[in-house]
């Protein structure tokens, strides 16, 4: 498989029941992952983030995952899990600096959200803020596990547009787990479907 410089490459990755998963994601590209539930989509993302033990080689811009300390890898390859977790009292506690106002506006928040208590956030609000929390780290790779699953259709579209805009601007390589065929068509040029024990590439670049 050809590799663009700076891309994320998976080579014969095996985790759980999945075997021999190989593909690469170029900078600025979104690749969607789909497949029946339980096939191992989330586990594959966890393997790419090196949160879960796995076989095979994973490289970013030619550098092997195993060649750098795990936390350094994860600073460059950030995963946003389907259920976001919050551990401080306020939203701002989870961000190092200020929350960028233009991003907040695009996600439907005012600047006052920083002072909000996490316990009063709805599931959808948490999901959007978790995306922003990962985005402000400016990673090279973003791993999104159903990033709009808790949002209504309109909000989901707005969040999608914001994600695609930032991905394009920052040239991130993105793996995006999605179920909705329309969403996949909207966001991804390529789509990898995971099947029992392996994968098939559904759609190459248009």
């Amino acid at each position: 498989m050809e590799e663009t410089p700076g891309s994320l490459a998976l080579e014969n990755v095996a985790v759980g029941a999945l075997n021999a998963v190989s593909f690469s994601v170029a900078p600025g590209e979104v690749v969607c992952l789909s497949g029946p539930s339980g096939v191992g989509k989330s586990r594959l993302l966890r393997a790419v983030a090196d949160i879960e033990a796995h076989q095979g080689a994973i490289r970013l811009a030619g550098e092997a995952q195993s060649s750098m300390p795990a936390h350094q890898w994860r600073r460059r390859v950030v995963m946003v899990p389907a259920d976001s977790q919050w551990w401080f009292d306020t939203v701002a506690g989870h961000f190092d600096g200020d929350l960028p106002e233009d991003d907040l506006a695009a996600l439907g928040f005012g600047p006052e959200v920083a002072g909000w208590s996490v316990s009063r956030l709805s599931t959808g609000e948490r999901q959007r803020l978790a995306l922003l929390r990962a985005m402000v780290l400016e990673p090279g790779v973003l791993l999104l596990d159903e990033p709009t699953s808790n949002l209504d259709a309109e909000r989901a579209r707005a969040t999608e547009r914001w994600l695609l805009d930032r991905i394009e601007a920052r040239r991130m390589a993105v793996l995006w787990v999605a179920h909705d065929a329309e969403q996949i068509a909207r966001v991804a040029r390529r789509h990898v479907r995971l099947v029992d024990h392996g994968m098939e590439v559904v759609r190459e670049c248009d």
Partner: protein
């Protein structure tokens, strides 16, 4: 300084009081007559046995036997630390971790007290060594058991949070930082509280015993202060070590949370 020895029949009088309590409990249907009697019998048997052991030990006074006794105490305490944990590390770690932390902290503090502070001759004089080690070890045991239990329980409950923090590029130390601090604190709280309440709320048992045995209160107080410091230091450093080693073991070389290393 004469101590009034207690005749066995006089001890039997106090046992009579316990029996009286047992009868009351039985009539009141409180349903713990049995456990009261079993516990009372255990006290008599266990303490009589340790009395015999100590008498023999003091008579011999050889360092080998003192060391052997100290080892037995350490191993029993190590087993107890392991037994008190809801979720423990798999394999030899469960026993090794608590025992190792107790060994390093309690033995260091005890040897320091014996060799530098009290200075009996020889320094391993069992009359000093064994009771001191017993008190320090017993408290370190409580502290280490509490802190390890707190650590494994909190990590188990907050695994999603810990993994989320790892996913954001935090090191394993950052991801469990709060939990580690909490666990260390809970291991130190009992001895800190005991120091704060000493003499006001409670007269510590060791001091009371020494005064009953005829020591001037001034001397007993100095010993008590020394022992409380030693207990705090022993359980404090013990908890810090146990939590530091234990939390390290919960992550692998790729800084992944490894809950499979805990029993469920």
């Amino acid at each position: 300084m004469n101590v009034i020895d207690l005749a066995w029949w006089k001890l039997a009088l106090t046992a009579g009081l316990v029996l009286l309590l047992a009868v009351t409990i039985h009539l009141g249907r409180l349903g713990m007559t049995r456990s009261l009697l079993v516990a009372a019998v255990r006290t008599v048997v266990q303490l009589s046995l340790i009395g015999l052991v100590l008498e023999a030990l003091f008579a011999v006074g050889s360092p080998v036997w003192v060391l052997l006794m100290a080892l037995v105490m350490l191993l029993v305490a190590g087993r107890e630390v392991m037994a008190r944990q809801g979720r423990r590390l798999r394999g030899p770690w469960a026993f090794g971790l608590g025992t190792g932390a107790m060994f390093v902290s309690s033995f260091t503090v005890t040897v320091f007290l014996l060799a530098v502070v009290i200075g009996p001759r020889p320094w391993y004089e069992p009359q000093y060594a064994i009771p001191l080690l017993g008190m320090i070890l017993g408290n370190a045991m409580t502290g280490i058991a509490l802190s390890l239990d707190r650590l494994t329980e909190a990590v188990w409950r907050q695994r999603a949070v810990i993994e989320s923090r790892l996913m954001l590029g935090q090191t394993w130390r950052q991801a469990v930082g709060d939990i580690r601090r909490d666990a260390m604190r809970s291991g130190m709280m009992p001895s800190i509280n005991a120091m704060a309440a000493a003499g006001i709320v409670s007269l510590p048992g060791m001091m009371t015993g020494q005064i009953l045995a005829g020591s001037p209160p001034g001397v007993a107080v100095k010993y008590q202060i020394m022992v409380m410091f030693a207990i705090t230091v022993g359980s404090g450093f013990g908890s810090v070590m146990a939590v530091a080693w234990g939390s390290r073991r919960l992550f692998d070389e790729r800084e992944r949370l490894r809950l499979d290393r805990l029993t469920s």
